[in-house]
Subunit: 343 residues, 4 copies
Amino acid sequence: MNAEPKYHFASDNTSGICPEAWQALEECNAGYHPSYGADAITAKACERFRDFFETDCEVFFVFNGTAANSLSLASLCQSYHSVICSDLSHVETDECGAPEFFSNGSKLLTAKSSLGKLEPADVERLITHRNDLHYPKPRALSLSQSTELGTVYRPGELAGLCGLVKQHGLSVHMDGARFFNALAGGTASPAEITWKAGVDVLCCGGTKLGMAVTEAVVFFDKALARDFEYRCKQAGQLCSKMRFISAQWQRILTDNVWQTHASRANGLARKLADGLGKIAGVQILYPVDANAVFARLPDALKLKLKSCGWQFYSFIGGGSRLMCSWATTETDVNAFLADAGQS
Amino acid sequence: MNAEPKYHFASDNTSGICPEAWQALEECNAGYHPSYGADAITAKACERFRDFFETDCEVFFVFNGTAANSLSLASLCQSYHSVICSDLSHVETDECGAPEFFSNGSKLLTAKSSLGKLEPADVERLITHRNDLHYPKPRALSLSQSTELGTVYRPGELAGLCGLVKQHGLSVHMDGARFFNALAGGTASPAEITWKAGVDVLCCGGTKLGMAVTEAVVFFDKALARDFEYRCKQAGQLCSKMRFISAQWQRILTDNVWQTHASRANGLARKLADGLGKIAGVQILYPVDANAVFARLPDALKLKLKSCGWQFYSFIGGGSRLMCSWATTETDVNAFLADAGQS
Amino acid sequence: MNAEPKYHFASDNTSGICPEAWQALEECNAGYHPSYGADAITAKACERFRDFFETDCEVFFVFNGTAANSLSLASLCQSYHSVICSDLSHVETDECGAPEFFSNGSKLLTAKSSLGKLEPADVERLITHRNDLHYPKPRALSLSQSTELGTVYRPGELAGLCGLVKQHGLSVHMDGARFFNALAGGTASPAEITWKAGVDVLCCGGTKLGMAVTEAVVFFDKALARDFEYRCKQAGQLCSKMRFISAQWQRILTDNVWQTHASRANGLARKLADGLGKIAGVQILYPVDANAVFARLPDALKLKLKSCGWQFYSFIGGGSRLMCSWATTETDVNAFLADAGQS
Amino acid sequence: MNAEPKYHFASDNTSGICPEAWQALEECNAGYHPSYGADAITAKACERFRDFFETDCEVFFVFNGTAANSLSLASLCQSYHSVICSDLSHVETDECGAPEFFSNGSKLLTAKSSLGKLEPADVERLITHRNDLHYPKPRALSLSQSTELGTVYRPGELAGLCGLVKQHGLSVHMDGARFFNALAGGTASPAEITWKAGVDVLCCGGTKLGMAVTEAVVFFDKALARDFEYRCKQAGQLCSKMRFISAQWQRILTDNVWQTHASRANGLARKLADGLGKIAGVQILYPVDANAVFARLPDALKLKLKSCGWQFYSFIGGGSRLMCSWATTETDVNAFLADAGQS
């Protein structure tokens, strides 16, 4: 008999809303507020972002990562442009053609990636290998931070890639579905791994950090944000009761709430990797820079874990993926490791 | 000195989340659940819809009304088709071209509308006045229930319009941003004012009924729902933490919660209209079938109310619009009427 | 018994290719030439345009007017923008939603037009009546020259409209399907009724002037032409055997060929109008500034003409439309008038 | 000093219009004809296609191959669907994202191809490797006939691929930019390598066969052609002076004109390959089934040929491509071979 399915490590979106975000929701529920973002809470949340990134950026809230990525790429590209990204990038592999849809046809050009990170030489080849008008003109670079393999670009790596593509006139988009995990995984400041390194627009993940139904789109190059509010509205991404989104952001960017949650998730991922790494036959595939563990598990072990109810996937990166979130506890990790037979 | 602004009647989306929806959110927050709608709560919520409409319909949850309307119209139309709607319809006047965007170009053909409702003769003229390929081919009728002027189509009116357009091969879309108010405003059953009258797809408003961030798309013609889950995903309308949407729906369709809230809003709208109607110079413009009051107010009265802080708009229908919601109280209405000088 | 149908006046595209264009085709048919516009003939044709307009404009050749108009509007607008045009404009009434398709959703906002021409007050109202993000933001003005009713904007009228909309940040598109007829109908120079008056992009009609399968898109604001060659390619509007298009243009812009044909068509249209105007019960509806005659014909007369085989349409402007082209002869006009019973 | 550039073998679209097509143009130029395809010539041309394919197919004429391929794929797919094709296919490599544009986002999934032809196992893998809604759903197979490497699918190969994908519910599109060369290269009938093998829609190349500015879209599955005339119109692909397109088709499908031209081009390509193959260091890369020769040329030879003025490209297939067309003569081939030093 199989155990009850356990979704703890299946993804970082199987968990709920963290206590701080919950409290923010509760507080903003009272009374009447102007809709569509004209409320005071939303203004404050945007201000909080500008403090956080130490720059006068433009901030927009949308419902999910697919929309955040696709709309920001569409603001960089016309339909006949192309976007350079990793062959493992979420925009390429898991958004059902959303970037192509919102841009009305921009093509994604993919490069093989080492540990989930793009290499400058590969990027340059994609920019330069065709320059005739029978092929879409490269116009944007899309990076994931942390990457889909749980690794994190260092500031120097980012600056190198951004500098390179800007020489060729491209803009830089960062898919930060797990941006806070990437941030908590290093020592650089928010500014240092974004606009100071050359990122023009960041999609900043809220849902996976512990919020409900929101991502922020942050334009460091404000010229690119022109009329973006119209784009969001037309694309079905303008929330009427916006305060329920912005209040969460305001709270999570206060008192380093983001850091508490992201750091704990990262720490537990490392603990999980360390534990698994001690089991015979298990291979940890990539550096655990953030909140994801990729491990090659012996078939027998996989079977055993599944029979204990643990749910996890092997859809990417050649191994099993285990995700930690704000909600993951030391107990969860220990239980998993115990079932995995580590002693 | 002006008073603090009061958004009570400015729209039915200035209010928060109703207690029942809130409780549902709270209950589903615990633990880990499969994402993207594969959870048990979502399955139950869909089942609840099928009970509610007494038919085997297909149900999808999206984030807002713009998306619900646009995606369902896109599933009815190809880019070279057209949609017939009222010149006052929300899809025409307040969605920033979203139907055209999601359908990649379907044109809206508008008819003047009497009391917000389309007339069969006008609809037929739009269907038949051009049949050459230099003009988009009519493919769908879009009705709002309740209408943008707060009126409600009777079952016979619906059946007449639906029957007419189906003779010409069109499908029928209903914009039900305030569907529950329309329902509570009459005696017909949910089935009677939808699929039994000929509606093929209903966008069923959650936000204005007292939920956060959700509308349901209900396909009564299941063939039209083919691959709609892909359409939602690609369009950035698939919620990863879906349970936070579906749990609200499950609750609101239980124990007639929807009715309690919608009826009270409707009742208070009528009370507001009755009160205003007694004031000299005030003209109530349309039947108050649901939760909206449209009134022509003397300029002095408008000024007085605004100086008391009351926020309301005059963007449609030639008068001032006052909306009641689940959160409106008798006290709110009395306060407004008192400020309006009614004794 | 009905006569053989006669399409002489049904449209200005029922005629064939004029002798000069034909000769150009013949000459360029010999030998091998680089494809996709890299040939010398195409370079010369573009140069000819720059001479013609006395300015350093960017020139692109596409296959028809629907493409020319839609692609140039798409280069002015994003999907959430809108285009202001006459309710009689071809882009609104006869392109099957092509502008919406190519722009991925830009809405056309229409104004009633007097004699086919837009009035500044109407245009300004459309620009200013909404400025919230629930409605597409006006971004371009589209004018037809000559208009769909056969009238021609004077330089001062154009300058007034262009000046007005530029104050509001809009660009100006001119649908010149019959540009040469408009030009031949007045005394202004090509430059004076285009860029000197404020037009940013002109769609310059070749087919109706006597060529096969081509329109030119002329950008006077070269910044707007950025990457337009990619847009054409992606949109299926890049001709591989381009010389067969450009050779015609080169010839037609030489030795005032355009003027010979356009003037004759205009002159015969005036003759036709004069003749019809003398018949009892016939009303000439609009000034015959170019090559179109709109006439209200008594039913009996219409019947008589149709029984003689004459084909013409009543789809616009409230009357019957009769078009003259490069191919129309004095004999044709006399034959029509004779059948119309004018003596 | 370099010689005058010679474009004879650079592509099969550097040549002009063949005598038979020219004569057809000349004949149809006289008089007035109904526009937009309502003329008798167009009706006859469609009828000719039905005879040619021995079936009641639907036929549409568009301006070029990019449009033909993209519009027909868009009629098979919704935006969230995907198209399986070779990584060398023209739709993937040389249409600047047109398929994605016209379909509003359909993704192309590419397989490596052996000799330009898809292998069933690769196709099946692409169909089955993902079946979650985060990835576009495969909906069409696109084959090129002849392929971009100049090879030709045999009827059995086609039937195998078509049968396979139809089991999975996909439709089959054939890019026949060089369909007549493929046909002339084998012994199968037009029907046998199209609908009898399972092809649903064929894009039938006219330009490369010796016509000006036209491809035909032939729907063997007539249900897929529903409203396709509207799609063409909206997409800027409806020719007003249609007779200039259809008259060429009518002629080319008469008296086996197509065969004369295609066979000669194929024969000269084989002659060219045979000659080149005798030169030391030259490697003919693929079977010369149609009118293309791919050869690996020693650098010195390449240089020598270029200095003689010969233009050719190395953009695909790892070698130099030399194309023959209806216009190629034995003299051309001999001249090229002489310059190549073959004796």
